[in-house]
Symmetry: D2
Subunit: 167 residues, 4 copies
C-alpha cells in the first residue's frame, strides 16, 4: 500500500516533519511511502497512493503561496476517495500552524478526500486536527524535535487507518 507525504519547505523544518510522518507510516506492515517536496511530486506514485498527507509551514498564519498554487492544480491527481491528512510547522506556538492545517483540510475535502487525524480515539497523544511542530528559531524552549513523536504517531495512526480501509 502506497502512502504519500507532500510538503513545502523553505528551511527544512517541514521536510523534516514530513520525514517523521513517513517514518511512522512505515511501522505499519506493507506500507510504502513517498515523500515529495511540492515542486517535485511523483504524480504516478500519488495517483496510486491510498492516502496523502499534506503539510506547509505557516507564513503569516496561512499556507505558503507555493502550496496554495500546487493545490490549485492537484485536481488532476485523482485525490477523491483517498485518505487525507494535514500538518504544519511554525516559528511561534501562536503562529497559525493549526489554521494552516485547517485550510489544507478544507482543500482535501474539496477534492473529495476522507480527512482523518485520529483525534482522541487512540489515547495520548491526542492529535486534534493534525500534528504541528514549532521550530526553535525564535522560541527558546522549543525545538522541532519536541514534536517528533506527534508526527511519527500521527503517521502510524494514519497508515493503520489506511490499511484498515484499503489494505
Amino acid at each position: 500500500m502506497k502512502l504519500a507525504v507532500i510538503y513545502d519547505s523553505k528551511t527544512g523544518n517541514t521536510r523534516q516533519a514530513a520525514g517523521w510522518i513517513a517514518e511512522g507510516m512505515r511501522r505499519i506492515e506493507g506500507v510504502q511511502t513517498g515523500v515529495f517536496g511540492v515542486e517535485d511530486v511523483d504524480e504516478a506514485f500519488v495517483k496510486e497512493a491510498c492516502g496523502v498527507v499534506i503539510g506547509s509551514p505557516s507564513y503569516a498564519a496561512l499556507m505558503t503561496p507555493n502550496m496554495r498554487e500546487w493545490l490549485m492544480g492537484a485536481g488532476k491527481l485523482g485525490l477523491a476517495g483517498k485518505l487525507g491528512g494535514a500538518f504544519a510547522t511554525a516559528q511561534y506556538t501562536h503562529g497559525g500552524a493549526e489554521l494552516v492545517v485547517q485550510s489544507i483540510l478544507v482543500n482535501e475535502l474539496g477534492f473529495g478526500m476522507l480527512c482523518y487525524s485520529g483525534g482522541n480515539s487512540k489515547g495520548r497523544p491526542i492529535i486534534h486536527i493534525g500534528p504541528v511542530g514549532i521550530n526553535g528559531n525564535v522560541e527558546e524552549h522549543n525545538a522541532l524535535e519536541n514534536y517528533r513523536e506527534y508526527f511519527t504517531v500521527f503517521g502510524e495512526r494514519f497508515a493503520a487507518k489506511a490499511a484498515e480501509l484499503f489494505g
Copy 2:
C-alpha cells in the same frame, strides 16, 4: 447500514435540512436513516451507525450552545472511525454557516471520524466542505427550498461513500 443525522433547530429550518439529507441517504439501497434532534438522540442507533452527519444553525457565526454542549458529551457514542459530515443553516448568506460547518468538522476529526463532503469529485453541484441552507427570514431572494437539492445530493453521496467503505 445505519446512518444518523443529528441536528439542533429552533425554528425548524435545520430540522428540515436534516430531513432532506436523510431523504438523499435513503436513495442508496440498504440504508436505514435515523434523524435526531440534539436533545433526543437515540444513542444505540448512533453507536451502530456507520456514518453520522451533524448540523446546526449559525448563531452569531458559531454553532448553537446546545450543539456545543452536546458535542462535549458525544465521546461516549463511539464515533471514531465512522464517516462524518456536517451542515448548517443561517439567515444571511454571509451569516457564518460555513464557519459552523468547519467547526463541526473540527469536532468530528477530534473524535477520530473520517470527514467527507464529496467535494468536487462528483461533478455539480460541487459541495465544498458541507451543504448550507439560507432561509427566507431576512433575505427576500432566499428560501430554504432553494438548497433542498444540495442537501439531498450531499446525503446521497455521503451514503454512497459509507456503503462503499462499510457496506
Copy 3:
C-alpha cells in the same frame, strides 16, 4: 480621508462587489475612494488611506493564489493601524466565501490592522465578519445584485467608523 478597496477578480464579480463597497463608502462626507485590482494597486494611495478593504473570489474555498501572493508582499504598504475589512464572492452559497473572508482578516490582523465589520451593532442587515456575494453562474435563484445592499451598507459603515476614528 482616503479609503482603499483592493480585490482580485477573474470574471468581474468581485470587481463589481468592490465597486459597491466604494459606492457605500462615498456616502460618508469627505471620503475619497480608490478601487484597485490586485495587479494594479496604487501604493501611494494605499499608504495614505485610513482604511483598506480586501476581497477575493473563493477558489476551492480559499482566496485566489494571486491574492495570497499579493498579501505576502503587502507588508511594505504600512497597513498597521489602518482599519481593515474583508469581503468575498463565490459561485455556491456553501462555496467558502466566509472562509475566504476569515483568512483575509487573519492576514490583516497579522499586519497590525484594526479589523471591523460592523457586526450586529447597526441593526439590519447584520454583517457578521464581512459581506459575501453569490453570483448567478450556477445557482439559479442567485444573482450578485441580490447582495448589492450588503456591500454598499458595509462600505458605508466601514467609512463611518474610519471617519469616527481617524477623520
Copy 4:
C-alpha cells in the same frame, strides 16, 4: 482608561494568562484593568471599558461551552466600537488554541468590535491573531510560563493602541 480581560478557566491556566495580559496593559499610563472570570463579570466595568480581551481554554479545539454561552448573552454589554482581542490556552501545541482565538474574534466582529492583535507591526515577538499558551500538563518541554512574555507584550500593545484610539 478602563480595559477588561474576561476568561473562562478550569485549572487556572487561562486565569493566569489573563492576569499576565492585564499586567502588560498596566504598563501603559492611565490604564485601569479589570480581570473577570466568565461567571463573575463586572458588567458596569466592561460597559465603561474602551477595550476587552477575551480568552478561553481549548476544549476539543473549540472554546468552552461556558464561554460560548457567555458570549451569546454579551450583546447587552455594548461591546460595539470597543477594541477587541482574544487569547487561548491548550494542553497540546496542536490542540486548537488558535482556532479558539479565531472563533472568539469572529464573535467580537459580530458585536461590532475593532479586532486587534498588533501582528507583525511591533517587531518580535510577532503576535499573529492573538497570544496562546501551552501548559505543561502533557507536553514535557512546555510550561505556561514559557508564554508569559507573549501575554504581557500583547497586553501592553493592546493597551497602547486603545490609548492611541480612545485615550
